[in-house]
């Protein structure tokens, strides 16, 4: 693998609670190579979105990064000034979110919102910015892009809005796109189109992508590598096929088995009993131990280290 474009090292994120800091991301560590597509999979509260907001330095007032480093192209983003981050966001790293409705300003035209991004990062004339915006909208499959520039977000369908947001994200040719559950709010047929679009952009523009989802099936279709998170930690990662078809961590195996499929045998789904650990109530040992069918005494006592095994890493005392 070439030198990573993004290297997250021992990242920790905590919320300010009444009794002090409550850690939600507890030492996350992985890299993304230039042009690589990485999926982050996990349930609510696994820390997957929070880690990426920390990378973008968009955590807001209630949470902050309490440790670790985020190295993008040789530079530690956690140590960068806010002015420097404004240069990087949108130009080098762009992010699209789950709800396209609330990510767009309802009072401004689509064209204005795309050209704003372009002109924030590049010294171009208004007409050149408009040309770049049209090109970006065409790139994401919006037909009659020139005419659509004057449309307002409410005139777009959900899928079109998500396309417009992706157009904003790629308008400045970033090297990394972070997509946080970009299809969860969309209909299934639209979801399939957006997933296809992201695969195309990666192929044509050489874009590195981090695709966050709770659906292992969905990410396995387009990513090179899957990072599985649970309880604020990486519990397993590796090539997509290995993770989907031959996972070694009991959580990853159950995560795949509990998603119903259109083929395969009928009958009760594999279920993971119980619920994910709550913030501030993380078990001392492996966070999955209380729900794990394989758990032994050691699992409850001590967190297993993330150990390398060929192309993958696993944090489990009793891998399968």
């Amino acid at each position: 693998m070439s030198a990573p474009l993004l290297r997250i090292e021992e990242l920790r994120v905590a919320f300010r609670g009444t009794g002090g800091l409550i850690e939600a991301v507890r030492g996350v560590d992985f890299g993304v190579a230039p042009g690589e597509v990485v999926g982050i999979v996990g349930e609510s509260g696994s820390g997957k979105s929070l880690s990426m907001l920390a990378v973008m330095r968009l955590l807001g007032a209630t949470a902050r990064a309490t440790g670790g480093r985020v190295i993008f192209d040789g530079e530690d983003l956690l140590a960068a000034t806010e002015a420097r981050m404004r240069e990087i966001r949108g130009r080098d790293i762009a992010m699209v979110f789950q709800d396209p409705q609330s990510s767009l300003n309802p009072a401004l035209t689509i064209g204005r919102q795309v050209t704003d991004v372009v002109r924030a990062h590049r010294r171009v004339s208004a007409s050149e910015a408009r040309r770049i915006a049209v090109e970006a909208l065409e790139r994401v499959g919006i037909s009659e892009a020139g005419r659509r520039l004057d449309a307002y977000p409410h005139e777009f369908s959900g899928g079109m809005r998500q396309r417009a947001l992706i157009a904003m994200a790629i308008a400045c040719r970033p090297r990394l796109l972070i997509a946080d559950e970009p299809t969860t709010a969309l209909d299934v047929t639209v979801q399939a189109q957006i997933v296809e679009l992201i695969a195309e952009l990666r192929r044509d523009l050489g874009l590195a992508v981090i695709f966050i989802s709770h659906n292992l099936h969905l990410v396995a279709e387009i990513v090179d590598r899957v990072v599985v998170m649970y309880g604020g930690k990486v519990v397993e990662d590796g090539p997509a096929a290995d993770i989907e078809l031959a996972a070694r961590h009991p959580y990853t195996r159950l995560l795949r088995a509990c998603v119903p499929s259109l083929h395969g045998p009928l009958g009760p789904l594999a279920a993971i009993e119980g619920a994910p650990p709550r913030l501030g109530r993380m078990p001392a040992g492996c966070p999955f131990a209380p729900r794990c069918p394989q758990a032994a005494d050691a699992c409850e006592r001590e967190m297993p280290p993330l150990a390398t095994d060929g192309a993958r890493r696993i944090a489990c005392w009793r891998p399968q």
């Binding site: 349930e43 209909d187 047929t189 399939a192 259109l262 279920a271 993971i272």
Partner: protein, 282 residues
């Protein structure tokens, strides 16, 4: 009884579109949410109603429970017109059809404990005060929750647990028909599996008729015996679930099936960077 437990005959539901001015100027049009739908549900059927936003699937559900009335057409509950039954607002028909909603967070009163929520529902059915607590506990057990949940408030429960309470509350009325509108789509995959398994067991054990509204074909395949595919207010295809999914006749059903994520097997052109990924697929 041999006839269908629920039947829709030429049911159309339309909503006026446009503001007052448009209506005064005669420019208003109608948005047709459900367009001349006829269907029959047999007792004990587990029917999946699938479609995307705007397909009319949720309109169909609210018509069937009597939350809205059809613009034209007729809905029959055990052969009796629902419109006539509805003249008695709190009549026994209401008990017979119950609904579980998508967002378990907003479907429960945040200030009422689970025990109180269930006891009040049982009171509506006329269960005497003395036996309400025992019945509440039995209902919690039926949906796989322990009695320790009884004194808790909704916010103290996880999404999956709240969805089970919603189900217990619907079952408290001893319904014949249960309508579940996207009951698992806001849940994490692990909790989704728990709720689907539970619904599957309950329909078998209680002989419930279930209308399961969903956009997820794989979930419908796991749970349902019949499938109804809707698009733009119309039924485009229906039949036994496995037959329709194995041999979809309508292009829209085919499109929905091809849109279901297939994981590694669904990759079209494997990328060079994923060389290790492709080698183990065969």
């Amino acid at each position: 009884m041999s006839g269908p437990i629920l039947a829709l005959r030429g049911v159309t539901k339309s909503y006026p579109q446009g503001g007052l001015l448009d209506r005064l100027l005669g420019r208003a049009s109608n948005f047709v949410a459900l367009d001349d739908v006829t269907l029959q549900i047999a007792r004990g059927d587990v029917v999946g109603i699938v479609g995307e936003s705007g397909s009319g699937k949720s309109t169909l559900a609210s018509l069937a429970v009597g939350l809205t009335r059809p613009t034209t057409g007729e809905i029959l509950l055990d052969g009796e017109p629902l419109a006539a039954l509805m003249r008695d607002h709190a009549g026994p028909w209401r008990r017979r059809i119950q609904m579980v909603f998508q967002d378990s967070g907003s479907a429960l009163n945040p200030r009422k404990t689970i025990a109180r929520c269930l006891a009040q529902t049982l009171a509506l059915r006329g269960v005497p005060r003395a036996t309400r607590e025992d019945e509440s506990m039995a209902l919690l057990a039926l949906v796989g929750l322990g009695s320790e949940m009884a004194p808790r408030l909704p916010h103290e429960l996880s999404g999956g647990q709240r969805q089970r309470v919603g189900l217990a509350r619907a079952l408290a009325m001893k319904p014949d028909i249960l309508i579940a509108d996207e009951p698992v789509s806001s849940l994490d995959v692990s909790l989704q599996a728990q709720v689907i398994n539970l619904l599957s067991r309950l329909t078998r054990e209680l002989g419930l008729t279930l209308l399961f509204i969903s956009h997820d074909l794989a979930v419908v395949r796991t749970l349902c015996t019949r499938i109804i595919v809707m698009r733009k207010g119309r039924i485009v295809e229906e039949g036994p679930c496995l037959d329709v999914l194995a041999r979809p006749a309508h292009p829209y059903t085919q499109l929905l099936i091809s849109s279901v994520p297939k994981g590694i097997a669904g990759r079209r052109a494997p990328a060079a960077a994923a060389a290790s990924a492709t080698s183990s697929v065969g």
